[in-house]
Each structure stands twice: as C-alpha cells, then as structure tokens.
C-alpha cells in the first residue's frame, strides 16, 4: 500500500487566503471504494482534541493506482500556533477506503511564515520567511 501527498515546489508554508497545490498518488493492493484528500486543522495538547475539515477532494471508485492533483484555498485562520496548553496544526491527509489507511503532510498557515509561538519572542523561531 502506498499513499502519498506531494506539495507543489515542496512548499509547506502559506499565508491566509493562498492556495495549497500539489499531487496525491496511490498504489493499493485492492481497489478502494473511495479516496479523499482533506485539508484540515487540529489541536494537540491538554484536554479534548478538536479538528475541523476545511476542504476535501473526493474520488469515487478510483483505480488501484493513480495520481491526481488538488488545489485548496486556505482560510484566514486559525494560524499554526504552539502554546504550552494547546497547539494548532494544519495538515493534508489522503484517506483510502474506510479511513484505516492514510498519508498525512503537515503545513503551516501563518502571516510571516512562522508558527505563532506563545510566550516566546519571535526571534527564537527558526523557520525562515516565506520564499
């Protein structure tokens, strides 16, 4: 089983309102009932985990192997954020069949190309600006 998501130009940092583009490919031993690429954000940390799917691209009855493109416009927020109690993270996920198999690719939604880090000066962030 092989599920892959590749971001265009290997770019994984985006500003609000920009479009995430890329390709997804799959090679499975059985023909899946469906495939779906999902753009979503989720939380990690203390307490109940939250998750919101922002956009999807669905393929019914796909072949056993294939390759397709996707393009999702990002919303205005929430920004990728890291705090001690909670982190907000963005990702793309390719899900096959009954959601037991998946590939995930993280991305960053930010005004300046860096995740918001609560409680730390911005100079401690190590990511560079958006190219």
């Amino acid at each position: 089983m092989d599920l892959r998501i590749e971001l265009a130009d290997h770019r994984d940092v985006f500003r609000p309102g920009e479009t995430v583009r890329g390709t997804f490919s799959w090679s499975l031993s059985d023909r899946p009932a469906e495939l779906e690429v999902r753009l979503f954000w989720y939380t990690q940390g203390k307490g109940t985990q939250d998750m919101t799917i922002v956009n999807t691209r669905h393929i019914d009855a796909p072949r056993m192997a294939g390759r397709e493109t996707f393009a999702f416009e990002l919303p205005q927020g929430p920004y990728t954020m890291h705090g001690k109690l909670i982190s907000i993270l963005w990702a793309l996920e390719l899900v096959a069949g009954g959601a037991t198999d998946a590939a995930r690719t993280p991305l960053i939604l930010s005004l300046d190309g860096r995740p918001v880090v609560l409680g730390e000066p911005s100079s401690t962030n190590t990511r560079g600006p958006i190219p």
Partner: protein
C-alpha cells in the same frame, strides 16, 4: 515544552487502552453473557471506566452486536431519547455516567432498555445494574502507563525513579490516573520534562546527576 511535543498530550494518552487485571476479555464477555448483557462497571474518577467502555464496544462489535456508546457528562448533559428509541434487540447501549442521570430519567431508560439487546453502564459507586467489573488503579499500573507514554521507554536504570514518580502522583491524586497524567503534562509543559526532574522533590540531587543526563537525552530523542 509546547503542547504538540508534550508526551502526555491527550491524543497520546488516549492511545493507551484499558488493561484488564485478574481477567481477560473472554472471561469478561462470558460473564457479560451470563448477566444477559445488563451490567454496571464501577470505579472512581480516573480509574478507566470510559476507556473500558470504549474497548467493550469494539469487542461487542466483534461478536456481531451493535454497540451504541453514549457519554453522559458535563460536556454532553442531554440524552438523545429519540435516538435511543430506535435501538432494538441487536443493539447494546453503553452509557458512561449513568449515575449522573436524574432518577426519573434512569427509570425511563431502564424501561426503554427492555427492548435493547443489552445495556452496560458506568457509575462511580452506585451499582445500578449487576456489577460486571470494578475498575481499580494502583501505583504499579500508573508506573506501567508512564513507561509506555514517556520518552525513553522506561529503561531499566530509570525504573526506580519511574516507580517513585508513580507513587508520588498516585498518592496525591488519590488513585485518579487521569489527574495524575494531567499533572505530569503540566510538569512537562513547564520545562520539567524528564522523569528525573519530575521526581526531584523526593530525591537528593547527587543521586540524580548521572541518570538526569541520560533521561534528558532520551527525552530529546523522543520529542
């Protein structure tokens, strides 16, 4: 340490499933059959009742039944009576927090539940149905969970410290493992992220030096 790096973050903790003590799933499910799938799981806060109920749902599904899990707590205080009215002989209702239901609602549910294939409830102390199992915790159980969750995989040289940490947390939280893990989350978030430093209040510094370095590097590798 930020939330997504914290080894005690909730999505990691939720991967730890209930550990049956002095029993196995076959024996538990056989007893459940004897009780005609009408039973209560008892246990104090943070003893694993909800986790056990979730695991029970998977095992019931494997037996061809249709489990319906309802969490009745502060976040979900309302019972969806319309949905419950749809359940039938193949459905098993798994109700978490039955003792939080007002008594008239509980009796209404029991009356409705006569049509269900089963009804398994959790409760803190009140045995509202024949008792299937009483969830119990121990410092050893907490220590085992920490060994699974903390970076470094609980190597032998840290076993004593892990046990000390587990004893300390277990005692202060009266056996509530959920609260114990949440406190440890806060310690990690506050930068006390290795087992040794979490134990430090009970340990002389000199005894911690050699292990501390190793624990720190293990923690970094796992982050």
């Amino acid at each position: 340490m930020n939330a997504h790096e914290n080894p005690l973050r909730s999505d990691r903790v939720l991967t730890v499933r209930y550990r049956l003590q002095d029993a196995n799933w076959d024996a538990l499910l056989n007893r459940l059959t004897d009780l005609r799938y009408r039973a209560a799981i008892l246990g104090y806060e943070g003893s694993g009742k909800t986790t056990l109920l979730e695991d029970m749902a998977s095992h019931l599904a494997l037996r061809g039944l249709r489990p319906t899990l309802i969490l009745h707590n502060a976040q979900c205080p309302q019972v969806n009576w319309r949905a419950l009215a749809q359940l039938g002989p193949r459905d098993v209702l798994l109700l978490d927090g039955a003792d939080l239901l007002p008594l008239p609602q509980w009796w209404r549910l029991r009356w409705l539940g006569r049509r269900f294939g089963g009804m398994i409830v959790t409760s803190h102390t009140r045995a509202m149905l024949p008792v299937l199992l009483t969830c119990q915790t121990s410092p050893k159980l907490l220590s085992d969970l920490l060994g699974e969750l903390l970076p470094g995989e609980s190597p032998d040289h840290l076993a004593d410290h892990m046990a000390t940490l587990a004893n300390d947390l277990f005692t202060r939280h009266n056996g509530n493992l959920r609260d114990a893990l949440r406190e440890l989350y806060d310690r990690y978030a506050g930068g006390q992220g290795d087992v040794i430093s979490a134990c430090r209040p009970r340990m002389p510094l000199s005894a911690a030096v050699s292990g501390c370095d190793r624990a720190t590097s293990a923690g970094s590798a796992g982050a």
